[in-house]
């Protein structure tokens, strides 16, 4: 049988595991695909490659898909996704000196896990009194879960991310050096860059993204809408291969083997000592302690993780509105329907025998413990979906949700790069 050629772009991060394992273990071939993988150095280059057809699919930040669907950035409406590659997986890490300062400023608060940003707020207040410059935190891209998680965590402790600290975008491969020489004071990035900071003695991880929002979406498999429309069968083959691979990667007994693949030079090239801790969820350092067991640090398949929840898209969009990146009159449901495609997911998953949710939206934040999803073709075990501050997100009433936040952008930070015809002025 002839295999359909397909090119997938990816970034140098541990959560490429499902794609990497599908390639290395012959899963793509088994589903009739001849897949070439291409590694990119920046999200912008990956996005351009997908937008112009240089690649067919991409390991993409979930907010980049939502941004495109919302018409933000240079490829408005071009991207869509029917597959969540993983949940959780990021963490916030600070320099050793900031960690000590937090311990000194608020020793009691530092003892409570998950760690809030209130010790950091105490440090910021002291620095403010001493007229010291604001602390700088790095993340990887304006439209990223890293940015929204960092902003959520900071603002939950009363720190305005646009006023009280400086946020900068930095290549993940540089954040470790930047932290060690004091260029930045902390960052929110994916793995292996948090573990690497601890392993090389330059920083401490404070909190993982799964503790900020349990089981929030991280990377998606993005394709062009035109690809989804015209190459439907190939798209389904790709999703089925990834589902099969994700189910394998997610098994605890396979995580070391997956880490071994991901640590290879073609993927992260980072070595098992930096990759294994996050992929196995064992021996993770967080908030100054070794957390022996964080099995949900990376979720690749369990909890119907691969299902592209439109409520996830709407939460991401709510953060874009909260921080002034999208207009307040955004039509949430409409953008979400362009961004995530649960129907295509079901079409791929059901023939393979995977249970699927029968709904596209769920209230986020209501479950603090594991629960059973019954709005599904058969009941599915789900992990918690709590937010660190206990808020409930109703995807059908975003305005009320956003009105509950004191800290938010009061004016638009929209970039003027959407397509506007210059002839409009000539009218």
């Amino acid at each position: 049988m002839t295999h359909t050629p397909l090119t997938i772009g990816f970034a140098r991060l541990s959560d490429v595991a499902t794609i990497a394992a599908a390639k290395e273990r012959g899963t793509f071939e088994a589903f009739g695909l001849d897949v070439t993988l291409t590694r990119f150095q920046s999200w912008a280059a990956l996005r351009d490659a997908l937008g112009t057809g240089a690649i067919d699919a991409a390991h993409m930040l979930s907010p980049m898909v939502v941004a495109s669907a919302a018409g933000l950035g240079p490829y408005p409406g071009a991207f869509t996704s029917a597959f969540t590659l993983n949940l959780n997986g990021n963490a916030i890490t600070v320099s050793n000196s900031l960690f000590s300062a937090m311990q000194k400023a608020a020793p009691e608060a530092m003892a409570h896990l998950p760690l809030t940003a209130s010790p950091l707020a105490a440090v910021i207040n002291i620095r403010h009194l001493l007229k010291q410059p604001p602390l700088t935190f790095a993340h990887v891209y304006p439209h990223s879960m890293h940015a929204y998680e960092l902003r959520y965590w900071l603002s939950a402790a009363g720190i305005d991310p646009d006023k009280d600290v400086r946020l900068v975008v930095s290549p993940p491969s540089h954040v470790l050096d930047a932290l060690s020489i004091g260029e930045i004071d902390g960052y929110c990035v994916g793995e292996p860059w948090n573990t690497a900071a601890y392993e090389s003695g330059v920083g401490r991880t404070l909190i993982t993204s799964g503790e900020i929002w349990s089981n929030g979406p991280e990377k998606m498999l993005a394709v062009r809408r035109e690809f989804a429309d015209t190459k439907h069968e190939t798209h389904l083959q790709l999703l089925q291969a990834l589902l099969t691979s994700a189910a394998w990667v997610d098994q605890p007994e396979n995580r070391l083997a997956a880490a071994n693949i991901v640590s290879g030079p073609a993927y992260t090239g980072m070595g098992m000592d930096k990759v294994a801790a996050s992929l196995t969820g064992e021996n993770r350092q967080t908030a100054g302690r070794i957390r022996v067991d964080m099995p949900d640090f990376n979720v690749f398949h369990r909890y119907a993780a691969n299902f592209p929840w439109r409520s996830h898209a709407i939460w991401i969009l709510s953060q874009m509105v909260r921080w002034g990146e999208a207009p307040p009159d955004t039509d949430y449901a409409e953008v979400a329907s362009r961004a995530f495609q649960p129907d295509i997911f079901r079409e791929a998953a059901l023939p393979l025998g995977y249970a699927c949710p029968t709904i596209d939206l769920k209230v986020e934040g209501a479950h603090t413990v594991p629960w059973l999803m019954t709005d599904a073709t058969s009941p599915i075990a789900f992990g918690p979906d709590r937010f660190m501050d206990g808020r409930i997100f109703d995807p059908t009433d975003v305005d009320t949700y956003l009105a509950g936040f004191d800290i938010r952008a009061r004016e638009s930070r929209l970039a003027p790069i959407d397509e506007v015809q210059s002839s409009e002025l000539a009218k």
């Binding site: 990119f40 150095q41 920046s42 999200w43 912008a44 280059a45 351009d48 490659a49 937008g51 112009t52 057809g53 240089a54 933000l72 950035g73 240079p74 490829y75 700088t136 790095a138 990887v140 891209y141 304006p142 439209h143 400086r166 900068v168 975008v169 930095s170 290549p171 491969s173 540089h174 954040v175 930047a178 260029e183 930045i184 990146e325 930070r413 929209l414 970039a415 003027p416 790069i417 959407d418 397509e419 506007v420 210059s422 409009e424 002025l425 000539a426």
Partner: protein, 225 residues
């Protein structure tokens, strides 16, 4: 050294009596972001005598943003595959500071896709095969294109909800049509060109047009193009 060597002959403001000196004395500020020092020097050579060139080699993230803030480059030149692209993107995606025209280059052959990517709206230009001779014209093209695609859009975005600004532009256009005998399209194009040449927002160009045409009153009625 002029930043645009454009002739003012067809500038309706000149015809209307404007004698504004071109913003010519300030050299073009160029920032080259490239970890490959030899390649960066090649670009610098191509610009010698025509621009104030700053090199950003092996600096990333925060110090790179600080450098951009202090240099305030007119154009940024960088590799398409640079890991610093997302840092530069952050200047564009979220309007915390002014976006800059960006010239991007790719080294390898068969870069059609990246060319297409850039033409799709990244507001940048590709140099494949960096010869010093090609650097300067490409930068000029990129800046001109940026000002049309990005600067005007950005101006439009700001003025779209600002009726006052819009009225100023409308009024200036009307005056140019009435006094200079231009068509609506010519009047708009004239102001847009001035906006590009002077690097000024359309609104301030329109204000100049109104001020000057008001000042010279009806005397120039017959001098339209």
């Amino acid at each position: 050294m002029k930043s645009t060597g454009a002739s003012d002959d067809r500038d309706p403001l000149r015809q209307a009596g404007e004698s504004r000196p071109a913003a010519a004395a300030v050299p073009l500020r160029v920032l080259i972001i490239d970890d490959d020092l030899d390649r960066a020097r090649q670009v610098e050579d191509g610009l010698s005598g025509h621009a104030a060139v700053h090199l950003a080699t092996s600096i990333h993230g925060r110090p790179l943003l600080d450098l951009i803030a202090s240099v305030q480059p007119d154009v940024i030149i960088m590799d398409c595959n640079s890991p610093d692209r997302d840092t530069i993107e952050s200047l564009r995606l979220v309007a915390q500071s002014n976006p800059k025209p960006i010239v991007m280059f790719v080294e390898e052959e068969g870069s059609d896709q990246m060319t297409a990517a850039i033409e799709a709206g990244v507001s940048a230009y590709v140099i494949d095969g960096l010869t010093p001779k090609r650097v300067r014209p490409l930068i000029q093209t990129a800046i001109a294109r940026f000002k049309v695609m990005d600067g005007l859009q950005s101006e439009l975005r700001k003025t779209r909800d600002d009726l006052a600004a819009r009225k100023v532009i409308e009024r200036a256009k009307g005056l140019l049509m009435q006094r200079q005998g231009m068509t609506e399209e010519q009047a708009f194009k004239a102001m847009r060109d001035m906006s590009q040449k002077q690097g000024k927002p359309l609104k301030s160009v329109a204000e100049n047009v109104i001020a000057i045409l008001d000042m010279i009153g009806d005397k120039q009625d017959t001098e339209g193009t």
